[in-house]
């Protein structure tokens, strides 16, 4: 029987990345950690990190690219709270997001 892998929406990937950052607390998470936890390719990671920064959901903590970590903004925390509510609601009806 062919096993189908659950589709992970872009929004789910962004939420996974932000949760990886949230788990690291106030110090923030570096790209390698985010890449590992969110299970992404490097190209995708760079693209999505730029998008999250642009949307002001995360902010880089250092200008130097080698030491750069990311932490959540207030808007980012609010997004994660809303996403968790939507996740519970969708789960109740058996809808994967």
């Amino acid at each position: 029987m062919k096993s189908k892998k659950a589709y992970r929406s872009k929004m789910r990937i962004l939420a996974d990345m932000m949760r990886a950052i949230q788990d690291e607390g106030e110090n923030g998470a570096g790209p390698t950690k985010i890449l590992y936890i969110a299970n992404l390719s490097h190209d995708r990671l760079t693209q999505y990190l730029d998008e999250l920064v642009q949307k002001e959901l995360i902010k880089p903590t250092d200008d130097n690219e080698n030491n750069r970590t990311y932490s959540l903004t207030e808007k980012g925390y609010e997004f994660l709270r809303e996403f968790a509510r939507v996740e519970r609601f969708s789960e109740a009806f058996g809808i994967e997001i």
Binding site: K4, A84, R85, V86, F93, I97
Partner: protein, 206 residues
């Protein structure tokens, strides 16, 4: 006798109005979730609850108009074309909503199942009565909700399962039970209360 009937109808209007508002709230939240995630099934779910809510409000307004404004003369309603249209529209809209529920809650990985489409058409071939059609479609919805609950065992999924089971009971009592009319309204109301509890609990922060 007529007073008793009128008081039951008033209770019916109250219960159905509350259920209509709950359906509207679920629709609003599903639509909000759709806008955030882009998941089409959430959009279908939102449309389903919106259609259901419109059906219930239409029924409330129709019943109120015929029974309260027209003085509750049941004899004159028997042959009333407008009353028949309202009743058929109510049943048809509910069935449309249930079809949307069946489509939006179907398990992932199934894709578009031709068997499900066939099963949806089956009730009309078996029995064209609207309540029977609704019952058969709701059986699909309840089975899908039960499968979801068994797979994830969450409180939220349980509330949805209970809600859909009560909606199924509501149609079963309307179709088969004596005094089915008020019983069906009570079951429907309780079903929506279960959905409201799910909505409130899911919206609460952990």
């Amino acid at each position: 006798m007529q007073d008793v009937l009128l008081s039951l109808i008033r209770l019916d209007l109250l219960l159905e109005s509350i259920a209509g508002f709950i359906a509207l709230a679920v629709s609003h939240y599903a639509n909000k979730a759709f806008r955030l995630t882009g998941q089409k099934k959430l959009s279908d779910l939102a449309t389903g609850f919106l259609v259901l809510s419109a059906a219930m409000f239409g029924h409330v307004i129709g019943t109120w108009y015929f029974f309260v404004l027209k003085g509750g003369d049941i004899g004159s309603l028997e042959g009333s074309t407008v009353f028949s249209v309202v009743t058929i529209a109510y049943g048809t809209m509910k069935i449309m909503a249930y079809i949307l529920f069946a489509l939006s809650t179907r398990p992932i990985g199934g894709g578009h199942s031709p068997a499900l489409g066939l099963f949806m058409a089956l009730p009309i071939l078996i029995d064209p009565r609207l309540d029977v059609v609704a019952i058969i479609i709701l059986v699909v919805v309840v089975l899908q909700s039960a499968m979801n609950y068994l797979a994830i065992r969450s409180h939220y999924a349980l509330y949805v399962l209970v809600g859909f089971c009560l909606l199924l009971l509501s149609h079963m009592s309307a179709a088969y039970a004596e005094r089915g009319y008020i019983l069906s309204q009570v079951f429907q109301f309780l079903g929506f209360i279960a959905l409201l509890v799910m909505l409130v609990r899911a919206g609460r922060e952990v």
